[in-house]
Point group: C2
């Protein structure tokens, strides 16, 4: 698939079939993640690809309460949205609830891990939340998402399971100095899958030489 | 360009010509960034695209000392590397020094900003460095890099200027509640530009169901 077609149609797909992912397809999406750039080419991330039924069920059980707690906050934000946006947001929330109840069925949950001890985190001393460690992981996550889109697989970047990081680490045997930062359920779409996306344009997102 | 060709040949290009970027090309790389997914589709990032000669010179002057301080640490790590890796690392360091002395000439430096106040940072309370805020910015950075590669433009993701965030914010008029997380110099390559990359493969990066 052409690059811009993949990017411009990569949307969150939360209704996923339990159908298995063929080995060659799975190999290509995993490989795409490894191609991403990282600081100093250290590749300070790893993925645990969860396919085991019991472990997927445990991840779903850990995830669901956080999704359910997330909905009311979102619904209160929606009151100020235009009607059209409310409708599409409602559809997204319904799809999120579907995912929260069917995550155990998806063929693959990709758990991205990182090791801050081998990263150069240049904003660590700034008096605000650090994000730079993410610069050596989320490009790999984005490659993975784009590759799923290319292969006709639905997927969505989730981070709610970070609230349950100790339990996830124990479940998957993740060592003490490695942590989790993204959980991507992957599977063939139940409905239309990827398609048109709604984003702010360049005029709102980019300014030249000073803030605006 | 086909998606996997772009991903598998996206390497850091640090020797960049001063030649201008045509408006249509620039529009496409900026647009590609806006397509990226973000938590709750909030798009809590912005880009300041720096093209002004004086501001580029100031960014270079802020950057250079950190690059020069970075080299000795890297050289000491190199002593334990195989000879072949040492040679390629030396070439990368030379290219980095070239960039540190020519950043003022590149046609565009993309400064990515983010606002943690409008992000849901799910790992904020974990007893380790937070990275999840990066999950709503670095996918956009990766789209931008892939798009540069698609357009024949060289580019490299840098974060050293985060050490000088207050000075960068003042230079570009970035508001108090927005911060910086990536600085991407962009231009046509002096040498071969993008090409083969060296990465760990799936066997080292991915395990199934438990750490390994």
């Amino acid at each position: 698939m052409e690059l811009y077609e993949a990017m411009s149609t990569l949307r969150a797909v939360r209704r996923l079939k339990p159908d298995p992912i063929p080995d060659d397809v799975q190999g290509r999406i995993l490989n795409a993640a490894t191609w991403a750039p990282t600081g100093g080419n250290v590749q300070p991330w790893r993925m645990v690809a969860v396919t085991d039924a019991d472990k997927k069920q445990t991840l779903e059980d850990l995830y669901r309460p956080y999704w359910e707690a997330y909905i009311p906050g979102y619904e209160s934000k929606m009151k100020n949205m235009p009607e059209e946006v409310q409708a599409s947001t409602n559809r997204a929330l319904d799809a999120g609830t579907y995912l929260a109840n069917h995550m155990h069925e998806v063929p693959l949950i990709a758990v991205f891990c990182f090791n801050p001890g081998i990263m150069t985190i240049t904003d660590i001393d700034q008096p605000r939340t650090s994000v730079v460690g993410g610069g050596s992981v989320y490009p790999a996550v984005q490659n993975f998402l784009l590759s799923c889109r290319n292969e006709g697989l639905g997927c969505v970047l989730t981070t709610l399971l970070c609230y349950e990081e100790p339990a996830v680490k124990e479940l998957l045997g993740i060592p003490e100095d490695w942590y989790t930062c993204a959980h991507v359920p992957v599977g063939y779409p139940v409905l239309g899958g990827h398609g048109s996306i709604s984003r702010r344009g360049i005029d709102e997102m980019v300014s030249f030489n000073s803030w605006r």
